[in-house]
Amino acid sequence: MNDEYAGDSSQWAFGTGFEDPLAGVDTTVPPGVDPAELAAYCLMLGDDALVMAQRLSEWCSRAPDLEEDIALANMALDLLGQARLLLSRAAAADPGVVPALPEGSPVPAEDALAFFRDAERFRNVRLAEVENGDFAHVVVRLLLFSVARLALLERLRASPDQVLAAVAAKGVKEITYHRDWAGRWFLTLAQGTEESRRRLEAALDALWPYQAELVAPHTGFGVDPATLRDEVDVVLDQVLAVSGVERPDRPPLSGTGRDGAHTAALASLLAEMQVVARAHPSGRW
């Protein structure tokens, strides 16, 4: 460390207090917007990001090389940041979505939403929650996820809710990098060895039934993801064409995580993610 900074102890004085990611941000719900609908929409996008971040962070120390380990951790961090803002926004719009905790609990709303809801109250797509597979699996998952999320966030930059619009404007810059990373690795694995291509095609086949959920219709507040289907298809077809990989012929799964119908994988993911917070509901972090 440079001597100039070595004596500056304030650099390392991490505070222990909670930092509200929306401190000072005007969270008034704009006129004409239904607070419950706004909260439901933010919860859906926040849960996608939170569950994806958790799955990506499970890759820490397991990627094929250090650079990709860092890349996956970075993407997890971006999504965790988006999740914090979106869950906080949902709670500020409609405090009714926040699980009730004992009086005097120091748990902030975003943490109550992340750590004190059971699986059936999560609104994420099932693509985010399925268990990790090999490296091709995380490449395909990130490609399907970030193509749809980028298209949605691009449109949400013009949201009548100023907080959601700001989160989207920032998120677009981040997800652009995620989508490029996934697209490049998709191409690399497709054109790599027979084995890399076999694994890529297997991952695509396994995850394809989850893709439709990303662009399933949503009524109420916000951009309806179903209106982005063509746009999403154009980008996916572009990656498939360049890679010389066929679009899988697999029907979508029935039901949707948006209604709380999840796979068993979400419950085990949450059991691990929530165990410490639930064991110490009055703990301060």
Binding site: N2, L77, G81
Partner: protein, 167 residues
């Protein structure tokens, strides 16, 4: 006589980024506003570089700590999300400090209209090596030790270096 507002702004401008301490928060473009209310309460506004930037809590604590040490007992740190931070806000002094520390400063951030194109090839122009100046550099990864940096290697002097990303 220096006013309280000028004094508070000067103290805030001196606070350094916890992850890239060669930069002040002002040089990084993260410090958006310093306001003094009623002569004693300071309201500082900062904006995150990336949504998940884990350094935000430390920045807030450092600002509070320094301003209190300078005699401002009431300090509030606010988050500004709009407009989002862009690497274009890094000052000239900040860019010089990055280069001095062996990091490559960002070029102009992309200004896009319409749908964002997918980039499957290495389309972004590679930065010059901050050590030897060679233009022969190669991207190692678009993700680095902090959210705001990418990793490159110079094929001239063979040294790896970090590049602050354009966003």
């Amino acid at each position: 006589m220096v006013s309280a507002a000028e004094r508070a702004a000067e103290v805030a401008r001196q606070v350094r980024d916890p992850e890239m301490p060669m930069l002040t928060l002002a040089d990084l473009g993260v410090l958006r506003d310093v306001e003094v209310r009623g002569g004693e309460e300071v309201v500082v506004s900062i904006t995150p570089t990336y949504t998940g930037c884990p350094a935000m809590a430390t920045m807030r604590d450092d600002l509070v700590h320094r301003l209190r040490a300078a005699g401002f007992d009431r300090v509030e740190v606010r988050i500004v999300l709009d407009p989002p931070w862009t690497s274009d806000w890094i000052t000239e002094r900040g860019r010089a400090a990055l280069r001095e520390a062996g990091l490559s400063a960002p070029g102009p951030a992309p200004r896009r209209t319409g749908p964002i194109p997918l980039t499957l090839g290495p389309a972004r122009s590679a930065p010059a090596c901050p050590r030897c100046g060679s233009a022969a550099t190669r991207l190692t990864s678009e993700f680095g030790a902090t959210a705001c940096k990418a990793l490159y290697r110079c094929t001239g002097c063979q040294e790896p270096f970090e590049h602050v990303k354009e966003i």
